[in-house]
Subunit: 268 residues, 2 copies
Amino acid sequence: MSTRLAILAGSGQLPREIAKAVEGALYVTFEGAGGDAPDGVEHLGARFEKLGALFAALRAGGVGQVVFAGAMTRPALDPSAFDETTLRVMPAIMQAMRKGDDALLRAVAAVFEAEGFAVLGAHELVPGLTLEHGTLVGKSPSAAEELDAAKAYAILAALGGQDVGQSCVVEGGLCLGIETLQGTDAMLGFVAATPAHLRAATGGVFVKLPKPGQDLRFDMPAVGPETLSAVAAAGLSGLVIGAGGVIVLEREEVFRLAESLGLFLTAR
Amino acid sequence: MSTRLAILAGSGQLPREIAKAVEGALYVTFEGAGGDAPDGVEHLGARFEKLGALFAALRAGGVGQVVFAGAMTRPALDPSAFDETTLRVMPAIMQAMRKGDDALLRAVAAVFEAEGFAVLGAHELVPGLTLEHGTLVGKSPSAAEELDAAKAYAILAALGGQDVGQSCVVEGGLCLGIETLQGTDAMLGFVAATPAHLRAATGGVFVKLPKPGQDLRFDMPAVGPETLSAVAAAGLSGLVIGAGGVIVLEREEVFRLAESLGLFLTAR
């Protein structure tokens, strides 16, 4: 049985970290989806219109396992270019697309599984990608910040069934932002632009968690150095992330930034 | 028994519409909270620091009923200026403040009720302030837009217990914005700034509802001409509001704008 790994890569740091951790992996990017391959890895350019060609190329390359990693934008598709495989799976994909990112990724993963590929999660391939329960970097959260974190948890839990909201910000008991399709950075930018008279004296808390029941094999939530900079720029006090369920990209730099920006970073 | 009405006014159009509808009402604004009185009404300037003085002035003016209307910003308070009444009620107010706007307003209303004033809702004073179930202005929503509206309803219902989110935007099945402390206009501005590649081909739907269990006597959700302009500027197709539960400010202008901007406006 083939066990070579293909990294189905979008943009960002995560697919590159997997490529570093898993020797001999095949790096696959999709036209119009935003990823580009780093130097020194075997690269395959694919098109969503030609999934049959992709599956044939993966098999020819000895690939038996795939991992989805990085952010993919949804490219405009050219239906006249669909091969037979794409034509066959597209109705289920289109239907899932209407139900949100999770549903879409589950549907795409199901297509790969039906073709005989095992779908793995990034955290199963790269050791130390998430934080253990109780990890604390930087200062300790205050009692008020603990209350804000608890409120943020409650909001994210309430939204869990709706396939929206992996992160939110609560400050002084009031919610300043809930992540939607535009992503974490856009939400933190929105919080940063909040008029000063609506801000509490104490800085608030950013919380990021997997959605309840989220399949961590793909679209696992992540934070990285940019997240910490954005949290600080939004005037917040710290970050709480789900233990074992949120990827920390460039871990050493993230820890260093938490200290130097005066933030706390903790995993629950 | 005194039945004269005092309008406890913040900024915006609503307190002015009440002043027009209820002859002889006393128009009360609070220092630093953002309201200003229109011409031709009796005006009383008050301070949150001097609630005892306010209650005495209301009684002296023959006031027996109050209505909260318009948006009040939370002013910085000067504790050294607190009179005995403010000192007595402040602990309960401070505690409620941490729980969000609804809790704060409920606590403030309870203070007025304990002083013997009846607290009314704007919709009880001004006829035609909300829309009846089934009202439709402008074009009819498409089947896809009905699906988007249903998803927005589900998101708002899920959030109902959290005192956040009176409105949200769903487009092509995906959530583009959830209202937080910054309010509806800020949320629609955020949606308008969404990168084009994340937008669906069809315009999405803006939904605004009272929170489940919300006391409609104060902080009733509202839409007005600016809301319709912001919905159009955000590239959306229309608005769905809660029947009988959302105030429509400047109703004729709102209806005219729905038609001229090519939006639908419907109440459920």
